[in-house]
C-alpha cells in the first residue's frame, strides 16, 4: 500500500513536449510510472518516446486513455488554466510542479478545485514518489528505497536530502509527498498526515516544514489529537530574518508569525522529535 499513487496510477503529463516535461516524462517512464498520455495544445497526434500519445486537450486525453492523475509542467502563466482544464475533465488528482504561480490565481484555482472535490498537490512542488512503484513529478527515483516511512515536505531538494539520508542507513519510504512551498497550495500537512495515519504500510512519518504560515502548527494540533504513529520533523529557516522572502513565496516570517522557533515549539509540545539538521532524522526514527 501507499498513498495517492501506486503502480496502477494512469498518468497524464500536461506540457509533455516542453523541455522539462519531456525530460521528466522520460525519467518517470524509466522509473516505471504508467504514463498513458501527454497533452500539449496544437501537438495532438504526435507521440512521445514512441509510445505515449499526445492530445490537444485534457478531455480528449482522458476519453482516450482513462488517465486518472495528471502532472503539470506548464509555465507559471499557463498553469492556472492547466489546473482548471484538468479539473473540468474530471481528473481527481492534479500534481502541479510549476513554480511562480501568482497567489491570487492560486486562491481562485483552489476555490474552484475544492468545489469540484479535486485533490491538488502543489504548485511549486517536487511531486510524489512511491519508491519501487511510481513517481509523479521530479523527485530523483534513485535516492529512495521502498519502506515504511511516510515523508511529507514543503521543500524540494531538502526532501531529497532526507530521502537520501534515510536510504544511506537502509530506511525506505512508503510514499513521499512534496506539498510545495507556496503560500496557497492544494494539499496541506494535515491532509497528508491523515492519509499516512490510515495507510497500513506507513509506520512512521517524517514532516519537513519551513518558516512562514501556520501549516506546521495545524499539523502539531492534528498530531497531538489524532495521530497514533510517531512523527519526526525538521523545520528549515532557523536563521531566516523576518520580512524577507526566502526563495519560496511561502517562506516568509510576517509580522513576527511563522518563525521556525515557534513551529519547533508547537511540534515538540505535540510529542514530535525535531531534528537539529536533516541528517539527524534517521537516528530519531530508530
Amino acid at each position: 500500500m501507499s498513498i495517492l499513487i501506486n503502480k496502477n496510477t494512469r498518468l497524464l503529463v500536461q506540457g509533455i513536449t516542453g523541455n522539462e516535461g519531456l525530460f521528466h516524462t522520460t525519467q518517470m517512464v524509466n522509473y516505471g510510472t504508467n504514463v498513458v498520455a501527454g497533452m500539449t495544445p496544437g501537438k495532438g497526434g504526435e507521440w512521445v518516446l514512441d509510445k505515449i500519445p499526445v492530445f490537444d486537450s485534457v478531455k480528449l486525453a482522458v476519453e482516450a486513455t482513462g488517465a486518472n492523475a495528471t502532472v503539470i509542467f506548464v509555465p507559471a502563466r499557463g498553469a492556472p488554466d492547466a489546473m482548471y482544464e484538468a479539473a473540468d475533465a474530471g481528473i481527481p488528482l492534479i500534481v502541479c510542479i510549476t513554480e511562480g504561480v501568482a497567489v491570487q490565481d492560486m486562491m481562485r484555482v483552489r476555490d474552484y478545485l475544492d468545489q469540484k472535490k479535486v485533490r491538488l498537490i502543489g504548485p511549486n512542488c517536487p511531486g510524489l514518489l512511491t519508491p519501487g512503484e511510481s513517481k509523479v513529478g521530479i523527485i530523483p527515483g534513485d535516492i529512495a528505497i521502498p519502506g515504511n516511512i511516510g515523508v511529507v515536505s514543503r521543500s524540494g531538494t531538502l526532501t531529497y536530502e532526507v530521502l537520501y539520508a534515510l536510504k544511506l542507513v537502509g530506511m525506505g519510504a512508503s510514499t513521499c509527498v512534496g506539498i510545495g512551498g507556496d503560500p496557497i497550495n492544494g494539499t496541506n500537512f494535515v491532509d497528508v498526515l491523515e492519509m499516512f495515519e490510515h495507510d497500513p504500510q506507513t509506520e512512521k512519518v517524517v514532516l519537513i516544514g519551513e518558516i512562514g504560515g501556520t501549516d506546521e502548527d495545524k499539523a502539531a494540533e492534528f498530531i497531538s489529537s489524532k495521530m497514533t504513529k510517531p512523527v519526526v520533523s525538521f523545520i528549515a529557516g532557523q536563521t531566516a530574518p523576518p520580512g524577507k522572502r526566502m526563495g519560496h513565496a511561502g517562506a516568509i516570517i510576517e509580522g513576527g508569525a511563522g518563525s521556525a522557533a515557534d513551529k519547533v515549539k508547537a511540534l515538540q509540545a505535540a510529542g514530535v522529535k525535531v531534528a537539529k539538521h536533516p541528517e539527524e532524522i534517521p537516528s530519531l526514527l530508530k
Binding site: 524540494g156 526563495g247 519560496h248 541528517e279
Partner: protein
C-alpha cells in the same frame, strides 16, 4: 515588491479613491514649488520603503511654501532605518476629524482575500491587533465571486462609520477591491482613511505590495520598482533569476532549492558560523547562472569562505561545476571554498572540480563544519 506611498496613492486615484492633492519631489526647491501651487498648509512626507516614518521625524507639517522648502531640505538629508530619503511627497494638509484603518490582503490560512478595517486608524495595525484586537473587523471575500456591496456595508457598520458616509465608503471599498485584484496586490492598505472636518472621506496614506509572481502581466507596475531601496547585489541577482538575500555573516552559501538553502544556513549557524547570505540558484541552473551567483556572493567583502551545497535533481552537478570553474577563472577568488555535490551527475561534477583546489565534503553536516573552520582560517 513594495510600492512607495505616492505610487500607491496614484494607483488608488486611478480607481476612484479620493486622495489629497499633491506631488512627489526629489529636491527642496521642487517641494517649494509644489507647496506654492497647492497654497496653504502642506505635509512633507519622506518616501522610503519602511514603516515608522512619522516616529523617525520623516513626516512634517509646513505652514507655507518657505517652511516646506526648509523642511524638505531637512527630510531629504535624513536616513530612516538605514535608508536615505531620496524623495518627499508634498500633500495638501487635511483637517482630520476621524482616522480609520482599511485594507485588503491575502489571508493565507483561509486561502481567501480578507478586508480588514478598524475605527482605530492612523497607527500601525499590528499594534491595534496586539493591544485591542476587538477593534479590528475582518471580512473574507470569495476569490471567485469578488467583493459584494453588502460586505462593504457590513464593514462600515461594524466600525461605527456614520451612515452619511456609507455610500462613499462603499465606493472606496469597491475601488480598493479593484486595486487589489487588478494589480495582483498582496496588500492594498489605506491608513489612515480620514473623515475631514469638511466631511469628506480621503485616503491620506497608502501602502501597496505587489505579488512578484504576477509582474509578468503588469509591465507598468514592474517599472515602479525602486531599485535604490534594495542592495545592489539583490537587484543583480534578480536579473539572473536568482533568489539572493544578503545577511550579516561571513560564510557565503550557494545552494539549489529554497528549503535546502535555508537549511544550509541553519547548519552553518548550528556549527558556530554565520551565513553571509541566502542564495537559491533554483532548479536546472546552467553554468552561466552559477557563475553569476558566485560573483554576487564574492562581491560581499565580508565573505571569508564559500559553501556550495548542490543536491542534483533537475539541476545537474556537472553544469554547476562548470559554472564554478568559469567564475573562478574570472573572479580569481582568494577565499577557501567547500563544495558538496550529490545526485544527478555528481561524479562528473566532482571530476571537473578535482583540480580546482576546493575542499570537498560528503555530508551536509561535514560541509558546514568545514566551511565554518575555513572561515575561521583553520582550513588546510
Amino acid at each position: 515588491m513594495k510600492l512607495h506611498e505616492y505610487q500607491s496613492k496614484q494607483i488608488f486615484a486611478k480607481y476612484g479613491i479620493p486622495i489629497p492633492k499633491g506631488r512627489v519631489a526629489a529636491t527642496a526647491s521642487e517641494a517649494k514649488a509644489i507647496a506654492e501651487e497647492l497654497g496653504g498648509r502642506v505635509v512633507i512626507k519622506s518616501q522610503v520603503l519602511v514603516g515608522g516614518r512619522g516616529k523617525a521625524g520623516g513626516v512634517k507639517l509646513a505652514k507655507d511654501a518657505d517652511e516646506a522648502e526648509q523642511l524638505a531640505t531637512q527630510i531629504l538629508a535624513m536616513e530612516i532605518k538605514g535608508l536615505p530619503v531620496r524623495k518627499v511627497l508634498v500633500d495638501e494638509a487635511a483637517a482630520i476629524e476621524t482616522e480609520i484603518y482599511f485594507s485588503i490582503t491575502n489571508d493565507r490560512a483561509a486561502r481567501k482575500p480578507v478586508m480588514i478595517a478598524s475605527a482605530a486608524g492612523g497607527v500601525e495595525i499590528e499594534e491595534v491587533a496586539a493591544k485591542t484586537p476587538e477593534k479590528i473587523v475582518k471580512v473574507h471575500v470569495d476569490p471567485l465571486l469578488g467583493l459584494r456591496d453588502y460586505q462593504a456595508r457590513d464593514i462600515a457598520a461594524s466600525i461605527d462609520l456614520p451612515r452619511d458616509y456609507w455610500k462613499d465608503f462603499n465606493k472606496i471599498a469597491a475601488g480598493l477591491w479593484k486595486v487589489y485584484t487588478e494589480t495582483d496586490a498582496t496588500l492594498a492598505e489605506i491608513n489612515p482613511l480620514v473623515i475631514t472636518k469638511d466631511k469628506r472621506l480621503i485616503a491620506l496614506d497608502g501602502k501597496m505590495m505587489i505579488d512578484d509572481n504576477a509582474l509578468f502581466r503588469h509591465a507598468d507596475l514592474a517599472e515602479m520598482r525602486d531599485v535604490d531601496e534594495e542592495a545592489a547585489a539583490e537587484t543583480e541577482a534578480r536579473k539572473y533569476g536568482l533568489s539572493y538575500i544578503k545577511l550579516d555573516g561571513n560564510i557565503g552559501c550557494m545552494v539549489n532549492g529554497a528549503g535546502l538553502a535555508m537549511t544550509s544556513m541553519d547548519i552553518v549557524k548550528l556549527f558556530g558560523g554565520e551565513p553571509a547570505n541566502f542564495l537559491d540558484i533554483g532548479g536546472g541552473a546552467g553554468s552561466d547562472k552559477v557563475a553569476a551567483a558566485m560573483k554576487i556572493i564574492l562581491s560581499d567583502p565580508n565573505v571569508k569562505a564559500v559553501l556550495f551545497n548542490i543536491f542534483g535533481g533537475i539541476t545537474r552537478c556537472d553544469e554547476v561545476a562548470r559554472g564554478i570553474l568559469v567564475a573562478m577563472d574570472e573572479v580569481k577568488p582568494k577565499v577557501p571554498m567547500v563544495v558538496r555535490l550529490v545526485g544527478t551527475n555528481a561524479e562528473e561534477g566532482r571530476k571537473l572540480l578535482a583540480d580546482a583546489k576546493m575542499i570537498t565534503a560528503e555530508t551536509l553536516a561535514d560541509a558546514a563544519k568545514k566551511a565554518v573552520a575555513a572561515a575561521k582560517g583553520k582550513a588546510k
